[in-house]
Amino acid sequence: DQQVKQNSPSLSVQEGRISILNCDYTNSMFDYFLWYKKYPAEGPTFLISISSIKDKNEDGRFTVFLNKSAKHLSLHIVPSQPGDSAVYFCAATDYDAGNMLTFGGGTRLMVKP
């Protein structure tokens, strides 16, 4: 049973436009969410996170939105750049229960020049 799902395996966007990556979760105990970015032959690196007490967190070109009632989060990248082309994983945890992250299956983003 996948508790964190990324239903789009891939996404193609034109440079300069907005990229929107989506993630759904089923476990209502999850209260902390993270996005990781992975380039080929490298480990995933932390990108941005959000606590369930917020519905939005912004860091430069990256914004994460959380809709707790829908158990849905999204990552917006504006404007998209070719260097953003990577696989993006969302992850979730029940923060007080420990620090183990449950990952989604990833979305491959391709930003075309």
Binding site: E42, G43, N99, M100
Partner: protein, 114 residues
């Protein structure tokens, strides 16, 4: 060290052989995790070590898989009698127990079973 180090970076082995993968976590990180990513799939949890507590082995796919950790340092993941379906990138990560920014991953070991 400055980051999580994994070795080897690549390993090709014959079906039926045993392999050992090594992870050196960031110094001071009490938590250590092993994940794997098979081709075209997401990150699959394998095992979690936290300090001196008993490890969470709930993600290990079979009894051919085992892992050890020496104190709060090096960990080895052992796969016995490798099968072709074990081919994957094996990722190690470490973190402070309640680190807000999640894990720091190593670059992984790409295992190919032929």
């Amino acid at each position: 060290g400055a980051g999580v180090s994994q070795s080897p970076s690549n390993k090709v082995t014959e079906k039926g052989k045993d392999v050992e993968l090594r992870c050196d976590p960031i110094s001071g990180h009490t938590a250590l995790y092993w994940y794997r990513q098979r081709l075209g799939q997401g990150l699959e949890f394998l095992i979690y070590f936290q300090g001196n507590s008993a490890p969470d082995k709930s993600g290990l796919p079979s009894d051919r898989f085992s892992a050890e950790r020496t104190g709060e340092s090096v960990s080895t993941l052992t796969i016995q009698r490798t099968q072709q379906e074990d081919s994957a990138v094996y990722l190690c990560a470490s973190s402070l127990r309640r680190e807000l920014y999640g894990y720091t991953f190593g670059s992984g070991t790409r295992l190919t079973v032929v």
